[in-house]
Symmetry: C2
Subunit: 201 residues, 2 copies
């Protein structure tokens, strides 16, 4: 059985929970408190020396860090990750874009406001997160006004990954009323079979 080492409030951790649920794979969830230092204990650093959640436990000695690598591993050979070369590269294109152009800013703003207290020491970084986060959401809005899902007509792990932090972007101070196509897509993703909510047990 798979194990997810994560924190329920984290979008990156939610990605693995959602993917495992939608693939109907049984898993165990180990809840860790990031702010209390649980990702920097010697035991955790053996699993991921980078000190970040989630980690996908594959067996008692095999641990895979990086949420999107976990999605690729779990969805390999399933309907959520195409096997043909170009469609597969398109899914990867959006997964890399998520980690570079979306997550650092959209999730970053939410972390500052929801978890780190949003104090004055965070304001310079928050301003950068808001500027770059709006650019990312504008880009998503453009794309999702043209296609029902990120890579075209089918729901894939690209949609799953982008959903994780976009559906709680308002908690980072982003005004989601500006994004009708994103909101329609969020509903479409949430209507997929075996969808589970972020904080649902």
């Amino acid at each position: 059985m798979y194990t997810v080492y994560g924190q329920a409030i984290s979008g990156n951790c939610y990605k693995l929970k959602l993917c495992l649920s939608q693939l109907r794979l049984p898993f165990r969830w180990v809840e860790l408190d990031i702010l209390a230092g649980a990702t920097h204990t010697p035991e955790f650093l053996i699993m991921n020396p980078n000190g970040q959640v989630p980690v996908l436990g594959i067996d008692a000695e095999t641990y895979l860090p990086e949420s999107n690598a976990g999605l690729c591993y779990l969805a390999d050979g399933t309907h959520l990750f195409p096997s043909e070369k170009l469609p597969r590269a398109r899914v990867l294109q959006w997964l890399f874009w998520e980690q570079n152009s979306h997550e650092p800013w959209v999730a970053g703003a939410r972390f500052i406001l929801k978890m780190a207290g949003g104090g004055p020491e965070h304001q310079a970084r928050l301003a950068i997160c808001h500027k770059r986060g709006v650019e990312a959401l504008d880009r998503l809005e453009l794309r999702l006004g043209l296609y029902p899902f990120l890579t075209g007509d089918s729901y894939t792990i690209a949609d799953l990954a982008l959903y994780a932090y976009t559906h709680v972007a308002d908690e980072g101070g982003f005004d989601m009323k500006r994004y009708p196509a994103i909101r329609t897509w969020l509903d479409r993703v949430a209507a997929q079979p075996d969808h589970v909510k972020m904080l649902e047990a």
Copy 2:
């Protein structure tokens, strides 16, 4: 024949040049001046609405943005990207880590100092880039003190991708004298067959 739309000084663009060279695939390079706005023309935005280089031109109507997606596409089925599920996921783990925990900060600092003039308006962002960039380089140093290449004994597109900005990290103000294992690995990567330099024609 493949086409790379890129700027020679960009590490992300260099990744595709290096991968194509090492796979001995013929390609055409179209040089674009990012600061002059070449990635925001209507012609470019058709290829990549995100307005970023590189774009890998696969044929006259197929364009693939995101440097690491391009690496996965090009190296699929070759010795640079293992086909077995777990070794493949390990390569993806490092590719996602590069785009999330390394490139925004290590490349970001270099962009500010080398291309954007390094003026006072950039200092808040530069400080964040230096803090997070040092964390990423410390992490690389730890890993490369244990293994010759990022995923173990073999050179893969994970090494190629991390090499691109790490080998010019000093241009972003990072003190590479602190990282002996990284420097040995940089030499090891540069000694791989068909290696080409960033600014080599």
